[in-house]
Amino acid sequence: MKIKAIYILGAALLWSQFGFAQSEDEPKLEINGFVRNYTGVLLAPPNEYSIIQNTLNLEFRLQSDKFALYANPYYFQYPNKDDEFKLREAYVDIYLDKFDFRVGKQQIVWGQADGVFITDIVSPLDLTDFLLRDFNEIRIGVNAAKINYYPNYDHSFELVLIPSFTPSIFPSDIWEPTIDFPAPPTFDTSNIEVPFSLESSEVFLKYSLSKSWADIQLMGAYTWDDAPTMHVTQIAPPDPNAPSLLIKPEYHRLALAGMSFNTDIQGFVLRGEGAYYFDKYYQTLDPTAKDALVQKNFINYVVGLDKSIGDWKLSAQFIQRVIIDYDESIKDEEVDNLATLLISKSMFRETVRLEWFSYYGFNNNDALMRIRGFYYPMDAVSLELGANIFTGSKGMFGQYDDNDMMYVRIKYNF
């Protein structure tokens, strides 16, 4: 695998030195990518490595005025676990006067929020390393057909059809969440597969209005919940004093309708998005509930404000999720509040940048603080030194209180 990656890198570097554009009408081939080392160490003794990852990321693009071919293979090499060599995206674009078509494996990004996913639910997430991957590496490409229709310059429609369901990848290794079961669980994954059929396909529709005073999007989706629902039943134990739980994970349908917007007000960018989700399954303690589940609608929204002042960039977001028609037996809280804050400062003619990005969960008083410094000694080369600090004892971030880490990333783009 390593030799294969080295060959690919060598070929890509060689090819990228040549220009392939013969004329404006002829397709031109471009090869770009990056190599990166990412090494992190846990701050808690015995200071084990949280990650050692070497990356080769390649992008091949053959483009003309009427069509494009694109492929983005990547290779993660780990000294301490299995390597990963996959295609993040591989698709064909066709450009017509009022239509664009994209068919193939693709990442699709919707919405206005940064770091939270409300209407941005087309591509599932790779949460192997929790939320610490770059955003373009956290989304999983889906096999989809995407059609964009532009009746004029201000309005557009986007239709996405996904014939095969791709679930999110959940945190693993040191990021695996701890779940307390009231009794020893037995897992039965016989229902976890979503069959490949027309009935199983997903459909997403978005309308966009783009004006100088605002950008507005309306969206709707008939999709799958990317997280499996745990169907829990108590099974008859051999020892009546030691009850056991049978847990059957299963994916369920999810429908939603939402909107997003952004606008500039006196030099501040105000942006937001929200969605109403229908019939999501929640765990309940109600003993009469089948499989310990109840279906509820919920609302999820974010409001954010951005401002640039000189070399400073400030951005804050407030995110709230509310379960409709809540009852007290539901394990999740009725209202969940979250905030994010970004403070960034560039210096020395943009060769140095310092950044603070944090999530704060109000319900559990927990947080993730990402403090980073970037140094760009030359074009296309970056050296990043950072720390990820988790605070709190429970909640989305507090559960990782033992995973505070420092890391260094060295990256070369070509």
């Binding site: 500039d264 003619r349 296309a380």
Partner: protein, 268 residues
């Protein structure tokens, strides 16, 4: 999230009006030579003829005090809609910002510019907030205001003298802002028959010389005097920035579709 680096760089891209050589330093209609006041000269520079649209390649070279260079390559399209000027810029190099694009709407009235940024790694177009006009553009020695068309109404102009510079007969005018700004004054050498400032000195708040802009190369394209190369040198910090245009095409009849979010995402 490394794309935040790109975001920071790109959000600084507002108002690069001068890059097509049609803004502050642009050409003007030849007029009959006569005695001029400082204000008349400033208005002649401001009221220059400019093309309705155009495109060009652009190279921006940042040179530090040790002579080390960093180079950015772009391609840009511009179209004047009378009340609004639309501009879209595509980054070609270096590799970490390649295929990033920036769309700017600049209004004739006092409205702030509207700006959007497309980062290919994020795969979405973001509206970005306008920074201060005193901010430096992409880490260069040009502030946004340096690259903008500045109304003569904002300054008091005085004709200091007439002299020859680089073989061109020039008026030397001093422009002092009526309201406090990033510079205490500017002194410009304006070519008499072309109305292009061949050189501008910028003085800081302490009235010390801060920067010197020179125009090593300009030429007439489609009847418009166009700045080809601009050299901005910070004399206090001994670094400079050179902006050079090439493959300039004016009055192409560019379509409106060039200045849309769809075009930003599609790229060059």
């Amino acid at each position: 999230m490394n794309n935040n680096q790109n975001f920071n760089k790109m959000k600084n891209l507002k108002l690069i009006t001068a890059t097509l050589g049609i803004a502050l330093l642009a050409a003007i209609i030849p007029v009959k030579l006569k005695a001029q006041t400082g204000e008349e000269i400033a208005w002649k520079v401001y009221n220059r003829a400019s093309p309705s649209d155009g495109e060009s390649d652009m190279t921006m070279t940042l040179i530090n005090s040790k002579g080390k260079e960093r180079v950015r390559y772009l391609h840009q399209f511009l179209k004047d809609y009378e009340e609004v000027e639309k501009k879209v810029m595509f980054f070609k190099a270096p590799a970490d910002v390649k295929n990033t694009s920036f769309l700017n709407y600049s209004y004739d009235d006092d409205r702030d510019d509207d700006q959007w940024l497309y980062l290919p790694a994020l795969k979405k177009v973001k509206r970005i907030s306008g920074g201060s006009k005193d901010d430096y553009f992409m880490g260069s020695d040009f502030t946004y205001e340096d690259l903008e068309k500045r109304s003569p109404k904002k300054d008091v102009h005085k004709l200091l003298k007439q002299e020859t510079l680089n073989g061109e007969q020039c008026y030397v005018i001093e422009s002092t802002p009526k309201e406090e700004g990033q510079y205490s004054k500017r002194v410009a050498w304006v070519i008499k028959d072309k109305w292009i400032p061949l050189k501008i000195e910028f003085y800081d708040e302490d009235e010390e010389l801060l920067k010197v802009l020179t125009i090593p190369e300009f030429k007439q394209i489609n009847g418009y005097w166009t700045i080809i190369t601009q050299d901005m040198r910070n004399v206090q910090r001994s670094h400079k920035t050179v902006i050079k245009l090439s493959n300039i095409e004016l009055e192409k009849g560019l379509g409106d579709e060039k200045f849309t979010q769809r075009a930003m995402m599609k790229g060059l």
